[in-house]
């Protein structure tokens, strides 16, 4: 038999039309409403933060690739997405050097030291967020009321001070963004629109967002049933931008989340539950980002939860 025409190669054997830059462009479009609303609510300083963060991320990545003699990869737009996400989880009035440090840390420590796109174990914007939080807690918790710009607490911070305060928040205010928060976590509606767009375009699958929200919701429901005076209603947790951004954009990040359906469901459920544990009993006022990072570390374990291969018997 003539075998010279046989090509032996590694998978994947069939490639779809979804390239990295197309994927990243879709994510940028999905995040656009969130960014626009954030800039509308917090004005010029939010715009500066967003642009500075994106420019720094792209620049730092290009410099590193130049230094290490790799191909420049700014065309795949991933650095742009990383920079945008870093800005979206920052409070609106951070100083410029904090924004630049954040974007630099996300690209260097979050992404490039592990080998770049596709190989990093932790969500790069969240790595940057934790580093900034540990370094400059005073800047990272200085939140402003939208439009008026006066210094106020976010609902979760206020809640940590006094559990009774959650009654003073209107659910629609929380969801539409009439409250203090980070640039991108203030308006839940914009995030939901972006998330639905991502789902529709097939960039993310439903498993992690649904199970994440379910994890948060069930946990909140159980607490609410135990003591309604001490624990806020389920909607208070689900309407906030932090949980929505986490569930729809940050947790389903394709590199750092599991690939099997069962694994994704377990990942989301546990991340949601951990979010609630950190919110209710943690030292910090919100635990969404920490929960996602912890679950990122466990992603290889979740990938063991895979469906039984066809024809293979159940283990006795």
């Amino acid at each position: 038999m003539d075998t010279s025409k046989l090509i032996v190669s590694m998978s994947p054997h069939v490639r779809g039309s979804l390239t990295i830059d197309r994927m990243m462009r879709t994510i940028l479009i999905a995040l656009a409403p969130t960014a626009v609303v954030g800039i509308y609510l917090f004005g010029l300083m939010a715009l500066v933060t967003v642009l500075l963060s994106m420019a720094t991320a792209v620049g730092v990545e290009a410099v590193i690739e130049k230094l290490t003699g790799r191909d420049l990869s700014f065309r795949d737009l991933h650095a742009l997405v990383t920079g945008l996400l870093v800005a979206l989880i920052l409070p609106p009035a951070v100083p410029w050097w904090l924004t630049m440090t954040g974007a630099g840390v996300a690209v260097i420590l979050g992404k490039m030291v592990f080998g770049g796109l596709g190989t990093y174990p932790f969500n790069p914007p969240l790595v940057a967020w934790v580093v900034l939080k540990l370094s400059w807690p005073e800047h990272m918790s200085a939140f402003l009321a939208p439009k008026t710009g006066e210094a106020v607490l976010t609902p979760l911070m206020a809640f940590q001070e006094d559990p009774a305060l959650f009654y003073s928040y209107d659910l629609w205010d929380l969801f539409l963004g009439n409250k203090a928060g980070a640039i991108g976590t203030t308006c839940g509606l914009a995030i939901v629109i972006g998330g639905l767009f991502l789902l529709w375009r097939g960039i993310i699958r439903w498993h992690i967002p649904v199970s994440f929200l379910l994890g948060v919701g069930l946990f909140a429901l159980i607490l609410r049933m135990i003591n309604p005076d001490l624990y806020p209603p389920v909607s208070f947790h689900l309407a906030g931008g932090g949980v929505l951004l986490g569930a729809l954009v940050l947790a389903p990040e394709p590199v750092t989340s599991p690939v099997t359906p069962t694994g994704m469901l377990a990942f989301g459920l546990l991340a949601g539950a951990l979010t609630m544990i950190l919110r209710m009993w943690g030292a910090d006022y919100d635990g969404t980002f920490y929960a996602i990072l912890v679950m990122n570390a466990a992603t290889p374990l979740f990938n063991y939860l895979k469906p039984r291969a066809y024809g293979r018997l159940k283990r006795a």
């Binding site: 100083p95 050097w97 904090l98 440090t101 420590l109 030291v113 580093v131 900034l132 540990l134 370094s135 400059w136 800047h139």
Partner: protein, 202 residues
């Protein structure tokens, strides 16, 4: 003889510099290097123990039965650690307070036991002394440099003298445990880079 003596002494500074090349003794390296002074103090305390434990292990190497050698080494090392601990308590109390539990923990520093097992128990006292001094000073140098870097970025000072511009907001992350790992990793990367360049030249 003179060549090997110098060889054994200088290998600790670059070729087998403990925390970077051997990646041993990481616990104190990461835990106490929050400032240059702390790193220097820890390094010198370890060097003292290393030099004398090497000397005595080497002198006693013919009397120590092979079966119980590890336990015997630990007894020798622990004696010198107690000396360091008492001396520091008497004369360097503030530093002793900062370094805390990591002084008694010098007993279980793998560098010291490693040198006793791999070098001092097989070589004469003079060579062992040179080996202990070289490795110890290399360790001190590593801790000092790591401490300086973390102090500079994390507190904006060098040896407690402010050196950064007035509006510098300290990068406190570098003083925290994850910052220690990051600083160590970056230093390691730089050393590997220099080695690669050297190898390419040579």
């Amino acid at each position: 003889m003179a060549a090997t003596l110098r060889e054994e002494f200088t290998k600790g500074f670059w070729r087998t510099i403990p925390p970077f090349r051997l990646v041993l003794g990481l616990c104190p390296t990461l835990a106490v290097t929050t400032s240059g002074i702390n790193g220097l103090g820890m390094g010198l305390a370890t060097t003292f123990v290393l030099v004398f434990s090497n000397l005595f292990v080497s002198l006693l190497r013919r009397f120590i039965p092979t079966q119980v050698r590890i336990a015997s080494f630990i007894v020798i090392i622990a004696s010198f650690v107690v000396i360091v601990e008492l001396v520091m308590q008497a004369y360097f109390y503030p530093l002793f307070k900062i370094l805390g539990i990591f002084i008694p923990l010098i007993v279980v520093n793998c560098i010291i036991l490693g040198r006793a097992e791999a070098f001092a128990s097989k070589n004469g006292p003079v060579l062992s002394l040179a080996d202990g001094l070289g490795i110890g000073l290399g360790f001190t140098l590593s801790l000092f440099v790591l401490g300086l870097i973390r102090e500079l970025l994390g507190a904006g000072t060098l040896l407690e003298i402010p050196v950064m511009w007035a509006s510098f907001a300290p990068f406190a992350f570098m003083l925290k445990p994850p910052g220690a790992f990051v600083a160590l990793g970056i230093l390691l990367a730089f050393m590997n880079l220099i080695s690669q360049i050297q190898a390419r030249k040579g």
